[in-house]
Amino acid sequence: MKIIIDRRGCVGHARCEALAPEFYPLDESGYIDSDGFDVPEGQEALARRGARACPEKIIRTVNDPTGQDWPPETK
């Protein structure tokens, strides 16, 4: 599973980091400092929680083993 982050859309809620600090590093102003990462096996739930907590919905999961990626396709 992969996490892809559209960091241009970050407005600094820092919810991802609050829930999964090891995956979502912040810069000195509290904005996301990552474009994404490969999720280590067994850590999917934690990475997913961080992604879902983003109020801007700019953190995507790809190839989630549950078969349901986030955010769900709309329209």
Partner: protein
């Protein structure tokens, strides 16, 4: 017209004089009576009953004739879209009703890209890391305030704890004289809780005057505070101007001296009614951050404003340039299209992604401070007091406005 039936009002206040006639482009089925300053529950201790009624009975986008006549965005998806479209829903002006004197507050009264320039120094000053450095100060003040009332077996939580805790922490950050707390709080209430544009305007002038004196003082001698640091900030490669400093300080004053106090009151009032939740959190304090989020969602209480930058068609209506728009975030967070069983407080709720701090570019820059203060406050209340309940003799007193706020909240507990 004076006796027109009004489904949203039960307290019999005469508001006929304050009605603005419906403009032709607003369809009559989108007109709902909603007076953010005077709805009966908003001013009698239970603002979220009024919010829930709007969610249940009004369209997600409607127009109200009160307070100058303005749009209300009350649905989650509609707000999600509007706050991310600042070219149309501009933040340049946000006061409802419009006031004769509306000084520009930065960064909130600016739109991207200018907005980012003014926001950067504040984002850094209020970053999660910078706020964590304050946690010992916050905790010791919270502990001292709770210990002071503990032997009494009762307190007015709003005045004894919720006001002094975040307000004095914020005044310290900014570098404001703590002996002015009482006077400043009166001004903030005039600015936020009064529906009278003249009262708002004169309060703005008093704040600007007081802030100007402090800015001038720091211009001649820096101290270890935010006002001094902002003076040394560059805006696009040049020194910050005096007018910009006034704008920063007015925003910080309004945002910092009121909001968290109300968040604390909503949270503690819920805890005082939900004794099972108190027991759950006392037994496992690691659940408190989850409780902070769900309390913020259930009792979202700020309603920023916008002004239409142009004519615009969306959500099945036509907006006209210069119309004011109320972002009813408390209603979005009770929207059943986004939150299952939205009126229930559910600690186990999976989706707690609320709009209490707004979202999009104007996300509350103080959100990290607010969350930390709420968490520490709940921790200290639960650790230091036995089970606390609402005081039937001193019920909650609340006021309306763009911040649904508290004036009083009586609590009681058994004395050891």
């Amino acid at each position: 017209m004076a006796d027109q039936a009004d489904p949203l009002v039960e307290n019999g206040r005469s508001r006929a004089a304050a009605r603005t006639p419906r403009p032709d482009h607003v369809p009559s089925e989108r007109v709902i009576d909603f007076d953010v300053y005077r709805e009966s529950e908003i001013v009698s201790g239970d603002p979220h009953t009024a919010v829930a009624r709007v969610v249940a009975s009004a369209p997600p986008v409607f127009w109200t004739p009160f307070n100058g006549g303005h749009w209300v965005l009350a649905g989650y998806p509609e707000l999600f879209e509007a706050v991310r479209n600042p070219e149309v829903f501009s933040s340049r002006r946000g006061g409802i009703p419009p006031a004769p004197y509306e000084p520009k507050l930065v960064p909130i009264n600016s739109d991207p890209p200018e907005h980012g320039i003014y926001r950067a120094p504040l984002a850094k000053a209020f970053s999660p890391k910078a706020m964590m450095a304050l946690q010992d100060d916050i905790r010791s003040l919270a502990a001292a305030l709770v210990e002071e009332v503990r032997p009494q077996g009762r307190c007015d939580f709003a005045q004894d704890i919720a006001e002094p805790l975040p307000v004095s922490i914020f005044m310290k950050i900014m570098g404001l004289p703590l002996d002015k707390l009482g006077e400043y709080r009166i001004w903030v209430n005039e600015l936020l809780a009064s529906g009278d544009p003249a009262v708002k305007g004169s309060a703005s002038r008093k704040v600007v005057e007081a802030m100007s004196a402090i800015i001038k003082d720091r211009m001649s001698e820096r101290r270890d505070d935010l006002i001094s640091r902002l003076l040394d900030t560059e805006i696009e490669g040049r020194a910050v101007t005096f007018e910009e400093m006034q704008s920063f300080c007015l925003l910080l004053f309004i945002a910092g001296l009121d909001t968290v106090m109300n968040g604390m009151c909503y949270g503690v009032r819920h805890l005082a009614k939900d004794l099972n939740l108190q027991a759950t959190l006392r037994a496992d304090r690691s659940r408190i951050p989850d409780a902070v989020e769900e309390l913020l969602r259930r009792y979202t209480f700020t309603m920023p404003g916008r002004i239409m930058a142009c004519d615009h068609e969306a959500f099945g209506v036509r907006f006209k340039k210069d119309e004011r728009v109320l972002l009813m975030l408390p209603a979005a967070d009770l929207d059943a299209r986004e939150f299952e069983n939205p009126l229930a407080f559910d600690l186990e709720r999976e989706n707690k992604v609320h709009m209490a701090f707004n979202s999009g570019p104007h996300r509350c820059v103080g959100s990290h401070l607010a969350r930390l203060e709420l968490q520490i406050l709940y921790e200290e209340m639960l650790a230091r007091l036995p089970e606390f309940r609402l005081d039937p003799e001193r019920p909650a007193r609340t006021h309306g406005g763009q911040v649904l706020g508290f004036d009083g909240l009586g609590l009681v507990w058994d004395q050891a």
